[in-house]
């Protein structure tokens, strides 16, 4: 079940789960914006994510949700605004540095290392916690063996969260679709993030797979006590799992709040569910 959360207004006019109020937020976006090809793809985007919050980022197609993820992970450099990650400005950082600073993500179009085995996909993400050098690897020195064994164990443990430990030696590209999506999450987790960004984790999944995914996301949240932001079109998933929701349309935030607030927000209904409600009216 969804944890009971009371949302509290903090000085920066954003909302946080009350358990995170006393702690520094994991992420703060201030006036974030980017112009792509002359169009303001994201404009004046403000968001605060609590240390252990599960938040949703929703909006119609083309609203700029993935662009926000790309800005946070510096796939695109923002044209305006500031991103504070764990209180630190990420200005001038690249994707790799942002990951080292604590953001991991998955992708809307799955981007696995297709020709590597499942466990190697996860171990590749542990690169920065291994320290042996090339020579140790070529000569198979003791520190190579020690670190590899430790990494392998941890990788299997992470895979077991998603029940994937049996597939460890399978080529990632040959996995079924749902398993590929789950592997992407495991790979992101392997980098020890403090903020996990999931881009449509349930896309292409059937209802039972989605339900399993929901349980897994909760499990991850509980085990690692990290913040999770997810982009999702599956409203039942979003409404069930997210404590706070941010709605984007045409690159701008049109509403923020708890699932209940969002569901009853007229601006959201107009932008997002508007078509559906008018549809219903017609039917009626």
């Amino acid at each position: 079940m969804k944890p009971k959360t009371k949302y509290v207004q903090v000085p920066s006019r954003s909302i946080l789960p009350d358990r995170d109020i006393a702690r520094e937020p994991v992420l703060e976006c201030i006036n974030l914006g980017i112009t792509l090809g002359g169009i303001k793809a994201v404009d004046n985007f403000n968001l605060t994510i609590g240390r252990t919050e599960i938040a949703g980022l929703i909006g119609p197609n083309g609203a700029g949700k993935t662009t926000v993820f790309n800005l946070l992970t510096k796939v695109y450099q923002p044209t305006t605004g500031t991103i504070l990650l764990n209180g630190k400005d990420t200005h001038g950082m690249n994707t790799m540095q942002v990951n080292k600073a604590g953001i991991a993500r998955t992708f809307q179009n799955i981007r696995l290392f297709k020709n590597l085995s499942v466990v190697d996909n996860v171990k590749a993400a542990m690169n920065n916690e291994m320290h042996y050098n090339m020579l140790s690897a070529i000569l198979r020195l003791p520190n190579y063996r020690r670190e590899e064994v430790a990494a392998h164990r941890r990788a299997l443990k992470l895979l077991s969260i998603f029940d994937m430990q049996d597939m460890a030696d399978v080529r990632a590209g040959s996995l079924p679709y749902g398993a590929q999506r789950r592997l992407e999450i495991v790979r992101a987790l392997a980098t020890n993030p403090s903020l996990l960004l999931l881009d449509e984790p349930a896309a292409g999944m059937n209802p039972s797979e989605t339900a399993d995914l929901m349980d897994n996301i909760r499990k991850v949240h509980e085990m690692f006590q990290i913040a999770i932001v997810l982009i999702e079109h599956d409203m039942s998933l979003v409404m069930n799992i997210c404590e706070g929701i941010c709605v984007l349309n045409f690159g701008q935030v049109i509403a923020k709040g708890t699932p209940e607030e969002i569901q009853s927000n007229p601006a959201v209904i107009e932008a997002y569910l508007g078509r559906q409600s008018s549809h219903k009216e017609k039917e009626a």
Partner: protein
């Protein structure tokens, strides 16, 4: 005045590179492949022209025309037999096949015409225009090369931008699948591209060998690589880029020969290419595509 002389010969050499580079750039634009056999089509064109003019006493322009016809067909046949079956294959496989075709053409030429260098007769004689009291001398072939390049540039630009076939070519280079859905015959368009590129290569072959009259089976290889460099220099896939790249490469090469060192001129040319690509990673007029995430 010496400077101007060098400059004009640079433009002339660059014109030849530009004409060859067009073949590379058009094929790359539409088939996304590096056609390393293109340089050898030049050589075949030059040989056909040589035999027509020197052995069978054809009118030189008829000889060039014959060479163009032969090369056009050669281009189409090579595309059909060697490249078309590999349309879905990894680009490296296509590259190696193109190199195989290049070896094939070179060695066929070796068997047919032997490795003895032939002295190519200039297609319009060896005369020269004397300007400024003879201080500036522009040979007829130099003038012809520059004029030919300008004519080709204008005609080709008009063809690409105004005609139906030209539009089909542009559409195919943007998105083959969408072009097919719009009723464009993609295979025919690709063949057309190879045909035009190869026909131009024949002209380049005749001009090249008129200016530098030694003809061997390997004659096309180095100019081929240089023209390829020119195409990348200008932004591969871009037709104005090929002209610009070709002309600049020619001028740089002649200046490097004249003012730096004739032995190191190739090194200078390639060094300039590297510097250009570092400043403009997609060449002078190329477009950089960003991967969608």
């Amino acid at each position: 005045m010496i400077f101007l002389n060098y400059f004009i010969s640079g433009i002339s050499l660059g014109s030849i590179y530009a004409i060859i580079a067009l073949g590379y750039t058009m094929v790359y634009g539409i088939a996304k492949m590096l056609n390393f056999a293109h340089g050898d089509v030049i050589m075949v064109g030059a040989y056909v022209c040589f035999y027509a003019v020197a052995r069978y006493n054809f009118n030189p322009f008829l000889g060039v025309l014959l060479a163009m016809i032969v090369c056009t067909f050669l281009g189409i046949i090579v595309e059909r037999l060697a490249y078309k079956p590999l349309r879905q294959a990894p680009s490296l496989a296509v590259l190696i096949t193109a190199i195989g075709v290049s070896y094939f053409l070179q060695n066929s030429a070796l068997l047919l015409w032997s490795s003895n260098p032939k002295v190519f007769p200039s297609i319009i004689g060896r005369g020269a225009f004397k300007l400024f009291d003879g201080e500036l001398s522009v040979s007829h072939i130099t003038a012809l090369t520059i004029i030919a390049c300008l004519v080709i540039m204008v005609v080709l630009t008009l063809f690409i931008s105004k005609t139906r076939l030209g539009k089909a070519m542009r559409a195919c280079s943007e998105d083959k699948g969408a072009a097919q859905l719009m009723g464009i015959n993609v295979n025919a368009t690709i063949s057309l591209t190879f045909a035009i590129g190869s026909g131009l290569a024949a002209i380049a072959g005749a001009l090249l060998c008129s200016a530098y009259p030694t003809l061997m089976p390997t004659t096309g290889a180095l100019p081929g690589i240089k023209a390829f460099t020119a195409a990348v220099f200008g932004g591969i896939g871009s037709i104005p880029g090929a002209f610009l790249g070709g002309l600049m490469l020619g001028v740089i090469e002649i200046f490097a020969k004249a003012y730096i060192s004739s032995q190191l001129s190739d090194a200078v040319v390639f060094a300039v290419l590297i510097i250009v690509l570092l400043v403009k990673p997609a060449g002078l007029l190329g477009r950089l595509t960003q991967e969608k995430v």
